[in-house]
Subunit: 327 residues, 2 copies
């Protein structure tokens, strides 16, 4: 049991996009997006940067918790996409607020789609060990700039968005983290990839082309890995946490793909009716998907104080991770 | 006191480069590199990727500690430069080893030049809180691909290299972390930058040019920030750790620049003769600088078991961070 309480959450969505309109514009068979990707609408940035969306979320979450920047003692950016190659994302979010009076430190944590879960796991140890007392975790993701309209699978699937959670050390036992678990099967490390633009395929040597500079997913291979490892992984997570499937009031899986969510519900039929699903209206928003779905579930009253909830998913890497907490 | 012991360290350097040769080749006044950047030789990659150098270091460090991959329970990549935009670096390092038998999880932590210090700080809480018992922290950095030969300051300063530390939970009190401290003054967030190639200046919209796609540093502004904040920061760090400057047997500052190191020795004359300096032979290797200097100091017998050491520095962000440990 690690002493962590989620005190407030927020969400930012850029402009809404109808999948139908994208299909018409880019010559994708009508209905393809919803049928295969499960996405009817999503949101893509117009003017927004990662820092802009992250700062909006941080401001809302602080306001909801009746806190100001100086009350925080750590800002974690938990993201896989970034404004600049250098520096990392967290200080850029803080800079966007244009309020330079504080010294709140900024760090960035990246486990691709699991970044929020990893950051929450790490934050629980930093809080419980009394390194910090209030931490903001921000996942702000822009996928839309790295999509290839000819790759229907990724183009119709990915969305943009951001979310922030403020977590604090709490003396009482009403909210806490039961535990967390993670595994990496690196043979899948290149099966979800943006190949061009890093140091291996440098933009100096490889001219821009939508094929090499966009998201690529080997969906079937990823589902094969997920199918093999998810059930034993979740069992291990629950054992580590001292809970059983029956104890879980609400389950938030990463909104990775329609097939992934379908597979999860098939593997764990006992969670029927208790599984978050915002894929149809948000798409896969990388690390922002899990906290946005958590925010929605709290706002919609699907999660109440005292509920036991699990957040879990797969991520490019290939990793599986999860955390169980008493909200 | 957090229970963490550094059990082994390693280092990898790619091909050696004489600054003199670079000066001749790129029309830089002879002697400029050593005079202004303080760099006589450094190392730049030929065939190596970040993952390649990181994997070499991980292999050496495991061998020195007489451990195998399966003995680890976490791999942290603590770096600011990366092979691909997606996925993050840690699983790519593990994949390079071509040994897919384990499920050791992989996460990446980025605070630019302070990534190793941040990872060590976080690792101390994960070990002390018994989330993990053995963690590999790897900093593998390639700066040379993002340098502009016309910008003498950065072109002559930056080097490539990698280092790995394996840290473990220890029951006895001979090795531990006293404490750590960090602050971010985000008004300096864009004063050390690689502007092009992220989402804000996307390679789709901004054709490659060495000016926008290379490291840029506003050296004078950074020194001004460092001058203002470093002394009070180090005082705070020592107070948090319950130590005084006299207790420090060896100090490892980030090898940021000749002026930065000079300034540090001026601010803290009491450390004279106890400060690591490998800038002349390695250049600034971003997050790999601090662990490489730590490795060298241990190998050279400047740091022995039981010594109290401090690692600290500034990083793009702009942040200052430090950690004090009993080695």
């Amino acid at each position: 049991m690690k002493k962590l309480k989620i005190v407030s959450m927020s969400k930012y969505l850029p402009q809404k996009i109808e999948s139908k309109k994208l299909e018409e514009e880019f010559g994708i068979p009508l209905g393809w997006s919803e049928k295969y990707s499960g996405v009817k609408t999503k949101h893509w940035v117009t003017h927004e940067t990662n820092a802009f969306m992250g700062a909006k979320c941080l401001t809302y979450a602080l306001k909801k918790a009746n806190l100001k920047m100086d009350d925080l003692d750590l800002i974690i950016s938990a993201n896989a996409t970034y404004d600049y190659p250098i520096p990392h994302q967290a200080p850029l979010i803080k800079k966007e607020l244009n309020d330079y009076g504080t010294q709140v430190p900024c760090i960035s944590i990246d486990t691709t789609c699991l970044s929020f879960v990893t950051a929450l796991d790490i934050a629980s140890y930093l809080l419980d060990g009394k390194r910090y007392s209030k931490i903001a975790i921000i996942s702000s993701e822009i996928s839309s700039k790295n999509l290839n309209p000819k790759d229907f699978e990724t183009f119709t699937l990915f969305g943009d968005g951001a979310s922030c959670a403020i977590v604090e050390y709490t003396e009482n036992d009403e909210s806490f983290v039961y535990g967390a678990h993670m595994m990496t099967k690196e043979e899948g490390a290149e099966e979800t990839i943006v190949k061009g633009g890093g140091l291996r395929f440098h933009f100096k040597d490889y001219a821009y082309n939508p094929e090499d500079y966009s998201f690529k997913m080997k969906g079937k291979n990823l589902l094969r890995l997920a199918k093999k490892y998810i059930r034993p992984f979740i069992e291990d997570l629950f054992v580590k946490c001292g809970v059983t499937a029956k104890d879980i009031d609400f389950f938030i899986p990463h909104q990775g793909s329609k097939m992934g969510l379908f597979l999860f519900e098939k593997i764990y039929p006992e969670f029927k009716g208790k599984v978050a699903n915002n894929l149809n209206t948000h798409g896969n928003c990388i690390a922002a998907s899990i906290p946005m779905a958590l925010y929605d579930a709290i706002e919609d009253g699907k999660i109440c104080r005292g509920n036991t909830i699990a957040l879990a998913g797969t991520s490019a890497g290939f990793s599986i991770g999860g955390i169980v907490l008493k909200y």
